[in-house]
Amino acid sequence: MANSQFRIVLAEDDVLLREGLVQLLKRFGHEVVAAVDDSRGLSEAVEMYRPDIVVTDVRMPPDFNDDGLRAAMCLRGRYPALAVLVLTQYAATAYACELLESGEHSGGGLGYLLKDRIGAVAEFLAAIERVGTGGTVIDQEVVWQLLRRRQMNEPLSRLSPRERGVLALMAEGKTNAVIAAALNVSQPTVAKNIGSIFLKFGLSEDDGHRRVLAVLTYLRSSP
C-alpha cells in the first residue's frame, strides 16, 4: 500500500471507538495529533495543530445534533487546504451534499463515509489516503441514493447508464482500475466513459479537478 503519512485530528465522542480509531490510524503509520470528544475541542485542536486531515463524527456533544458536521464545514471555510473525512451512522444525502458544497472553493479532500466502512481496513485506509491527497470519497450507500434521485434529472439524463455507473463509482472515490474491475470492462473503456462524462457535463481540462467537479455536478443536479 502506498502509504503517505498524515497528521490527523480525530473527533469522536464514544471513548472506545475513539481509542480504537487512534490505534488503527497509528498502526498504519499516521500521526493522530489530537483526539477530541466534542466539536469545540475539534475547532481548538485544528487551530492548534493545523493537521492534514480532520476525521469527525456527525453527532457529538455539546448539542448531540450535527455538531461534528457543522464544525467540519466551518473549518473548511477557514482552512481551504484542510481535508475532512466525516464518519457517520447516517446515510443522509442532505449531509453529504452540504459537506460537498462547503468545499466548493477549497482544495482539500472530502469524504463522507458510513462508519461500517472502517471494518474494511484496506479500503478505509485508501479512503484516508484519497481524502488526504485532495480526493473525494462518498459512501456508496449515499451515492446510490443520489443516483436514484437524479436518474430522471438533468444533466444526468444525458449520460448513458454505463456512464452513470462509472460516475457513481467515481463519486465513491474509486480509481479507474477499480472501476474497470467493478464494472468488468477494460481500463481504456473506463477512461473513454469518463472523457465522455466530462464532455457531456461541459468540463474542459482547464477546470482543474474535473473528477471532483463531475461528482459535484452529479450530486448537485437540482431535482
Partner: protein, 465 residues
Amino acid sequence: MSNPSIGAQVRANACPPDAIPLNCRQALARGPRLLLTSSWPWRSFGYLFCGALVALPVAGGVTNGLFFIKSLPGYAELMVVLLLTVLIAMPVAAVERFRLRMVDTEPVGNPHVTPGEPGLRAWLWLRVGEAATWREFGYAIAWTSLLPLIDLSGVLLVGVVVILVLAPFVEPLVDLGPLVILGFWHVSTPLDKGLVVLLGLALLPLAAYLVTVLAVGRASFVRLLLAPRESELVARVQALTRSRIRLADAFEAERRRIERDLHDGAQQRLVGLIMTLGVVEHEFAQEQSDRAELVANARKQAEGVLAELRELIHGIHPQLLTARGVAAAVAEVADRSPVPVDVDITIAQRLVPAVESVAYFAVKEGLANVVKHSRARAARVTGRQERDHLVLRVVDDGVGGARPEGGSGLQGLADRVAVVGGRLKLLSPPGGPTELVVELPWRTVNSASCSPRTTSCCEKDSSNC
C-alpha cells in the same frame, strides 16, 4: 373551542313524543295515561324511598345534634355541624349523582377537575377554588334539611294510599283497634271497608303521578347543583386536550431517547467490533490462511447487523428530522422512494418536535401507500403554512379509489394526527388522482436550544467555528 363531545353531553330536555323517555321528566310530559303504565312512577317511588331511608337518620342526627355536640356552646355546635356538612358534601354528592340513574338514565358527569399535580395540598386548593365544590356544599345542607321532607312526603303519600287499600285485608290478621278514622267517619262495616279500598284504588294513580312529580323536582334539583356546568365541561375538554398534547410530547421525547440510546450504545459498540474484526482480518490476510476469510465473514455479518440497526433507528426517529426539520427529512424519504417524488415544502420555522414527527411520519406513510397501492408513476409532496396550520399534501397520479377505512396504516395515521390536534383528509376518486391532506397546528419552538439550523451555519454559529 367547539367540540362535538360537549354538545353531546349537554342534555336535551325536549323529547319527541314517540321516543322512549330517558328520564321521569320526559315520562311526565307524555301525559298521565302513558306515565301510569310505565315503570317511571315505580322508579320515582324507589328513588324517594331510598332517599328517605338514608337521609332521615342523617338529618335527624345533624339537626338534633349528637350527644357530644349538645354539650358544646352554641357557636361551636354550629361550627361542628358545618364541618360535618363539609366532610359529607363530596361523598354525598357522588352518591346522589350515581343514584340519579334511578329516575334519569343519562349519567351525570363529575364536575370536578382532575388535579394536575399530586399531593393533598394541590387537591385541596383545587377543590376549594371550584364552584362545583360549593354547589355540593349547598346540596349537602339541603340534603340534611329540605330534601328529607320531599322524600318523606312522597313516601307518606304512597304509604297512606297503600294503607287505605290494604288495611281491611290486614285487619283480621292483626288487631289494629278501630281501623281507620277519617274525620267523623268510623270505618267498621264491610261496606265502609269496601269504600275505603275503592277510595285507595282511586287515589293510587294520583299518588303515582304526584310521586313522579316529586321525583322530577328532586332530580332537577340534583342536576342543577351537582351536574357539571357547560363551562366546567369546556374546562375538562381543555384539560384533556392539554394532557393529550403532553402525552404526545412525552412519546416524542421517548422516541428520541430510544434513538439516542441505540445510536450511542449498540451502534457504536458494533462499529467498534467491526473495526476490531477488520484489523484482525488485515493481520491474518498476510499469513495466507483461511482464517482471514473467517474473520471477513464475521465482519460482514456484523456489518449486516449494523445496517439493519441503522434502518431500525431511522424508522424510530430519523436524525435528519431532529437536525434539519421536516423538509430535509421528507426529501430524504423521497430519495428512497421507488416512485419518483417531487418535494416542495416551505417551512420558515422549526415546529415543535411532536408536530414535526407527525408531519414526517404522515408523509412517509402517504408515500408508502403510493408505492404499495396507487400504481402511480409520480408523486408530489407539498407543505405550506396556511393560516395557523401546516398543510401537507401528498398527491399521486395513480389509480385512486383509496379508502381511509381500508388500511390500518391510514387509521393509525389519523389517530396520530389527531393527537396533536390535526386533521387528515383523503381524496381518492376511482381513477385517481389520490390526494392525502394532513393539517397540523402550527406550533413553533421558541426555546433557543432547538432553534433552526441552516445549511450555512458559519455566519450564524460563529461560536462553533
